[in-house]
Amino acid sequence: MTLHNKDNNRRNFLKSSVATVATGLIGGSLINSFVSCKQETSKVKVLTPDGKLVEVDSTHISHEHSMPVSNAEARKGIAGKKFVMVIDLAKCDGCGECTKACQKMHFTPPDREWIKVFTMQDGAELAPYYFPKPCFQCDNPPCTKVCPVNATFKRQDGIVLIDNERCIGCRFCMVACPYSTRFFNWDRPVESAEEKSIPYSPEQSFPRKVGTVEKCDFCPHVMREGKLPACVVGCPMGAIYMGDENEDAVTNSAGVTVQLSKLLEDNAAYRYLEELGTKPRVYYLPPKNRKYPIPDMNNEKEGEKKNQNHKSMNM
């Protein structure tokens, strides 16, 4: 028992020291935005190059949605990057703030959750856990394969995007995606004035168009500016990490930047439905040693009532 604790302590110490070192070395590469611009005044949390979270006046930072890149540029992707996301299920308490932050940034109607928090239970005897699911930006994407017009495509930085000015609305990609990640604009979109005022780019997926498909896009329009995606910033638990595989570093909302390979190795990371061979770019850390109440599957009764045949897939 003592031996186990000792080991654990050492590992924790190692982990935190690695994290600190990594923060100092690489933290600056992702966070580098201090551009002044006239906006309404409000306080915004930002990360400083040395990894500290500070509150500054919003007039001191550039607007979230600056001029989008051209279609050709959006199809190429950000040179030299290989974006990757890590979601620590041990930290996720299912609050759903990631979804809210995402919906705010992308002006998404409430019924569409680009990142959705599922309550999973892999078997009747197994512990339930929360499971936030964005688009996995697969390296072997079943969706882009079937697209007849190259409206959805894989970029060099690993992101899968949709060009809603080319999409013909056949919805083949929706049925091909094994993760129910894609959403369709069934009706004419109701757009806010702000949304309409921004020119369209596949990198931000709005203004939306009726009869086209949309999905989580890893917020490339803000990552281009070196900022983190909405869900990562919005997670109060720091459960979602975003980073670059080439730099071997990922950062969460607490500003902790860690070595990606070490994080995956130490926590026995896995990818959802690895056996399908889609090679997702989203890794999960197993939900062990949780510090918050474990989800009660009974709370999901409502969801079950809505559809009796669907419990967790693995059950």
Binding site: N150, V175, S180, W186, G211, T212, G303
Partner: protein, 465 residues
């Protein structure tokens, strides 16, 4: 060549055949008018609702994010399946030189052509952005199964148009020569243009036969490819229930099963409406019934492969889907289809009494409807069984049944099929006149030869005795 002689030698017989088939052309009985009016109303309603759907978006249908393909795509698969009939009856029976095919080839080929036309329209109706349909040409990706479908269905459409049209040329020329006197300007124009200056010369016949021969052979692999790639649309995904290596041939088998049954129905319809009992006889129903029986058994065999093999293993998500089909919310429909529209028809068709015109028609109605519902059962339950659980979504996302918009448009398309068939048969002969005449001639030749042999035998016997 041969046919020139027929007209000269057995003039009486030939004129009566021609009269029988030319009689209904251009004449609209009150019932015909009522029927055409009825179809026009349904088709026009469908078009109106489609325009409404374009304006408001596909949100006017019952489809939502989980079930994002519904009745339109099921119907697309069904119509394309029906289109296999023409090839089967016409091409295969032509190649094998079955005499009894002669009075039914034209209607079978017509059915292929029309159902292909409307089958091809269904995915466009299902598109969120039909205004961007030309993106398929501009940006088309050959890696997408959808492009395979466009290529195969397009090729099949051109091929079956030729296959329908080529043997029509002599008949159109006949209409030109015999019906132009009291035909409308429009029909006169059609007969003149589409008979391509056919002159009934040996050279004409030689060319026609050559072209027919080539088409008969190449249309068969094209037809097989069409339904294979329709199956591939589903089989190329990772979805439980679709992720199957048997889907290509399974869809071909299903297409032949429903298509051949549809041939029996169009045969029965024209036999009754156009009083063709003299030509489309019990023989045709008996033989077609046997073909439908064989294809039903093949289809049953593919069903066994498609369901029993994964059911033995009941692997995770696939197992949930199968449970839902076998004993869950789709079980009643599923078992009704398997027993009521596959096994029962096979049992009935196995008996000669089950292959009389009336019985065969009833059985084939059941088969055709069953095939349609089966398409629905292939498409929808899979979409309701994703890998991730369906949680906290609007209730409309968790279930699917087509709403009035989808029914209106789908029945509009169905009415379109009936309308084209009805109008076609009022402009052109629905039976290939020259082929029936040729058949009569061959029959007579056989009789002559038989008689000659008998006479010879008698002579020999007389000589011996």
């Amino acid at each position: 060549m041969e046919n020139k002689n027929i007209i000269i030698t057995s003039n009486n017989n030939v004129t009566s055949i021609e009269n029988d088939f030319l009689k209904p052309i251009g004449k609209y009985s009150p019932f015909n008018r009522l029927w055409i009016g009825f179809l026009l109303i349904i088709a026009a309603w469908g078009v109106a609702i489609y325009i409404r759907q374009i304006y408001f978006g596909l949100g006017t249908t019952a489809m939502r994010n989980y079930v994002s393909w519904g009745l339109y795509i099921s119907t697309f698969v069904f119509f394309i399946g029906i289109s296999h009939s023409g090839t089967l009856v016409s091409a295969i029976l032509r190649i094998t030189n079955k005499e009894w095919r002669r009075p039914i080839t034209r209607s079978a080929e017509l059915l292929t052509w029309v159902s292909l036309l409307f089958g091809g329209i269904m995915p466009v109706i299902d598109m969120g952005r039909p205004d961007r349909v030309f993106n398929l040409v501009i940006f088309g990706r050959l890696q997408s199964p959808l492009l395979w479908d466009i290529i195969c269905i397009g090729t099949y459409f051109v091929g079956s148009s030729l296959f329908l049209y080529l043997p029509m040329i002599p008949d159109i020329a006949l209409c030109r020569d015999r019906l132009s006197a009291n035909a409308s300007q429009f029909r006169k124009w059609i007969y003149r243009k589409f008979s391509l200056g056919w002159k009934d010369t040996p050279n004409n016949w030689k060319r026609l036969e050559k072209a027919m021969h080539i088409m008969t052979i190449i249309i068969i692999p094209i037809a097989v490819s069409v339904h294979t790639v329709v199956g591939y649309i589903f089989a190329m995904t990772l979805r439980p229930g679709w992720n199957s290596t048997v889907f290509g041939p399974y869809f071909v088998a299903g297409a032949l099963y429903s298509g051949s049954a549809a041939v029996v129905l169009i045969m029965a319809a024209f036999r009754k409406m156009y009083h063709l009992e003299k030509y489309i006889t019990k023989k045709q129903f008996n033989y077609m019934g046997q073909i439908v029986l064989a294809l039903t058994l093949i289809y049953a065999y593919f069903n066994l492969n498609e369901y029993a093999v994964p059911a033995y293993k009941m692997a995770s998500t696939e197992g949930f889907l199968l449970q839902d089909l076998f004993s869950g919310s789709y079980s009643v429909v599923f078992w009704t289809l398997q027993f009521g529209t596959v096994l029962l028809p096979a049992i009935i068709l196995a008996f000669p009494k089950g292959r009389t015109p009336v019985m065969a028609s009833i059985v084939c109605v059941v088969i055709v409807i069953g095939a349609w519902v089966k398409r629905y059962i292939i498409v929808i339950p899979t979409l309701l069984h994703p890998y991730l659980p369906i949680q906290n979504v609007p209730i409309s996302w968790t279930q699917y049944f087509p709403n009035w918009v989808e029914w209106s448009i789908t029945f509009g398309a169905l009415a379109g099929i009936f309308l084209v068939i009805t109008l076609f048969a009022k402009i052109f002969p629905i039976v290939s006149i020259w082929e029936v005449k040729e058949g009569r001639e061959i029959e007579e030749k056989y009789k002559q030869v038989d008689n000659a042999i008998r006479n010879e035998k008698e002579n020999v016997q007389v000589a011996i005795s």
